[in-house]
């Protein structure tokens, strides 16, 4: 307790990652090892995190303390939370695990609803029959050939976009990082657009590779521009690089699409982000890539936690900075490429869900990532179902619904006094 108190005076109050790590029990629980004596380093990293949390290009904070926005007397942590909240890491973990299970249950339920609801409603019992003992009736065919693939791909795309967003935000220590903002989705989108518009390749199993190529090129360029060099770059430069690239890819896609109206007509639904019309065959083709990306991404939680304290602190904790970043970029490429190829660009899920998740898990990636993987598809599927219900017998594309559902949440989060730090 005294130790935590002693560490706070050097720490800015706004958006300090360390502060939240402390609250989440990571630092004080000492589970990361070697953190117990981190008082000195904490201050520095807190300062850095503060600058990032406050905005991308707010110049360089000049090393002095900020935090009046936070309403913090003296700009110093007065240990709100740190002192008043008893530390029970074990209990907190149990609580979070229970929450995760509850989220999973809710996800399964949402998936069932997604299979059942649509322009032709199917009772849940029939859904179960169709899955377990198909008899070839119309209902069963609809469920098996349309609804199930659609739901499965929705699960995969949602998880992929959410995880990609969370990984990016953690990697860049930038609350605004998102597949769309860093240009990776636009890269994938350009890949797909070029395949369809220029080469006439309309088979999704073909253009998924173009999507990978596009997102890989975009991710590599962003990474090279943003993180190489002597100083190791920084999130401001990274985001600028991503935005610049995204704009270039977007302009290129627009140029391709403008070449003929037929392509534009075909693409405009996909461009919005839509799960409609996905077959079981396609779902199976996309699945391995999504699964690989998800597994890789989830294994990165621990090294990303270490890097959250700053590159130097991460190195001191034994994480390999370059390797972690490289693997994260690979995971992001897989996730964004496959998700974009499958359902079109949907950039809001990756931005909003990790923000919402961090608001109650704190910044520990070991919780943030799994929660995101569970909750992002929940949001996506729920949005999809909603889109089918409100516009029946037609539907509103899931990309639009995600924005409609996610934007208010996001705006509310942005209005909070202290945005959940990374």
């Amino acid at each position: 307790m005294r130790l935590a108190g002693a560490a706070t005076p050097a720490m800015p109050a706004t958006g300090s990652p360390v502060r939240d790590l402390e609250e989440s029990g990571v630092l004080r629980g000492g589970r990361e090892g070697g953190n117990a004596d981190g008082g000195d380093g904490d201050g520095r990293d807190g300062g850095r995190g503060d600058g990032l949390g406050d905005g991308l290009g707010d110049g360089r904070g000049d090393g002095r303390d900020g935090g009046h926005e936070d309403g913090h007397e003296d700009g110093h942590g007065d240990g709100r939370g740190g002192r008043s909240r008893p530390t029970r890491p074990g209990r907190r973990s149990a609580l979070l695990a229970a929450g995760l299970l509850a989220g999973l249950a809710a996800l399964v339920l949402t998936a069932m609803v997604s299979v059942a609801v649509g322009s032709r409603s199917v009772p849940l019992s029939t859904v179960l029959d169709a899955l377990l003992a198909p008899d070839g009736s119309t209902d069963h065919t609809v469920v098996r050939s349309l609804r199930v693939p659609r739901t499965l791909i929705g699960l995969g795309v949602g998880a992929a976009l959410g995880l990609a967003g969370a990984l990016m935000q953690s990697l860049t220590r930038n609350p605004l990082a998102d597949p769309g903002l860093l240009g990776v989705s636009q890269g994938a989108m350009f890949g797909v657009t070029a395949a369809i518009g220029l080469l006439g390749l309309t088979s999704p199993t073909v253009y998924v590779w173009f999507a990978f190529a596009g997102s890989a090129v975009a991710a590599t360029l962003v990474y090279a521009l943003g993180f190489s060099g002597r100083s190791g770059g920084g999130p401001i430069r990274l985001t600028l690089a991503g935005v610049a690239l995204g704009m270039v890819f977007h302009a290129a896609s627009s140029a391709v699409l403008r070449m003929d109206n037929a392509t534009f007509d075909r693409m405009r639904f996909w461009l919005t982000g839509s799960l409609a019309g996905i077959t079981g065959d396609q779902a199976i083709r996309f699945a391995p890539f999504l699964a690989a990306g998800l597994v890789l991404g989830l294994t990165l939680a621990r090294p990303l936690n270490a890097l959250a304290l700053g590159d130097d602190a991460g190195r001191a904790l034994g994480a390999s900075v370059a390797r972690t970043r490289g693997l994260t970029a690979v995971a992001i490429t897989l996730l964004c490429g496959a998700a974009t190829a499958a359902a079109g660009p949907m950039w809001f899920v990756g931005l909003a869900v990790p923000h919402a998740v961090r608001a109650f898990t704190g910044p520990d990636q070991r919780w943030v990532l799994p929660y995101t993987v569970v909750l992002a598809p929940l949001v996506l599927l729920a949005s999809d179902v909603l889109g089918r219900v409100i516009a029946a017998p037609g539907e509103v594309q899931v990309g639009i619904m995600c924005a409609v559902v996610g934007a208010p949440v996001f705006i509310l989060l942005a209005r909070r006094r202290r945005l959940a730090a990374l």
């Binding site: 005076p9 707010d58 110049g59 360089r60 904070g61 000049d62 090393g63 002095r64 303390d65 900020g66 935090g67 009046h68 309403g71 913090h72 007397e73 003296d74 700009g75 110093h76 007065d78 006094r417």
Partner: protein
């Protein structure tokens, strides 16, 4: 009194920091505000500097309610060194210090001879003249703080408020900044600073304001205000007060956890605290 506040209720959003607070800054003093974390000292300073609008009560400057005065007019009488400032990319020292002249300038009077003189004097007295063409980003913490101080000085205000001017500086730079403040005070400015270090506060202040929980617990000359009882009451710290061998002001020596057996007397205690006994 040029600067005082009466009946101040101060709050951030819904969190009330202080209620019905009266504070007076004696003219020509070097007033230092101290108190434990979250006691409201920075908040009070911000209210005095009209950074924070009191929910009730008013801060008066030269007899007028400060918020009723034109903002630039206030800025010509009262300067503030804020705790957090942002350094724009690539700004030079001279440019930054020059920006302190804002309240004296107008759109058609952007850089008068007075501006030039004031900036030169401010840079000289903070000893940053040689850094004039350097980028602020490249400077060390101590240099930066001197540059910010120079900017506040260039404003040429008779009253200068400083919000924790020594935070993030090492001990030598802390003393350097405080010595500079003392010089400025001797030149006739009224200085008001929030400090963390009790001993530094006692050494430099001519008027000490001690706060706790949004109240002023004691104020006055450090020698008469600072007692072991007060420190225990305000900071919850057991200590002994001795005379600072350098300045003769009170020196707070925290009680050791394990007292040396059978040793007493000021010399031994001073030794424990590591104060060099100079001739």
């Amino acid at each position: 009194m040029r600067l005082y506040g009466t009946g101040l209720t101060l709050s951030y959003d819904k969190r009330v920091v202080a209620t019905d607070l009266d504070v007076t800054i004696p003219d020509g003093s070097f007033t230092v505000i101290i108190g434990p974390n979250a006691c409201g000292k920075s908040t009070m300073l911000r209210a005095l500097a009209r950074m924070l609008k009191p929910r009730a009560g008013a801060v008066h400057l030269d007899g007028s309610v400060i918020t009723s005065l034109p903002s630039k007019e206030v800025a010509r009488r009262l300067g503030l060194l804020p705790q957090s400032s942002i350094v724009p990319d690539g700004i030079t020292v001279a440019d930054l210090v020059g920006r302190g002249r804002y309240p004296h300038q107008r759109m058609m009077r952007q850089w008068s001879r007075e501006d030039e003189v004031a900036v030169a004097a401010a840079m000289r007295s903070t000893d940053v003249t040689e850094l004039a063409d350097r980028c602020v980003d490249e400077l060390s913490g101590g240099q930066r703080q001197r540059v910010w101080l120079a900017m506040a000085l260039a404003q040429e205000t008779p009253i200068l408020l400083l919000d924790e001017p020594t935070t993030f500086l090492d001990i030598a730079h802390q003393i350097e900044v405080l010595d500079l403040c003392a010089d400025l005070h001797e030149q006739g400015r009224t200085m008001v600073a929030v400090l963390h270090d009790l001993n530094q506060a006692c050494r430099y202040a001519t008027h000490l304001i001690v706060m706790r929980d949004g109240r002023i617990v004691a104020e006055g000359d450090p020698a008469s205000v600072v007692t072991a009882d007060l420190v225990r009451e305000v900071f919850e710290l057991r200590c002994e007060i001795i005379e600072d061998p350098q300045s003769g002001t009170p020196l707070i020596v925290p009680e050791a956890r394990r007292r040396p057996v059978a040793v007493a007397g000021a010399g031994a205690v001073a030794g424990t605290a590591g104060v060099p006994v100079s001739g």
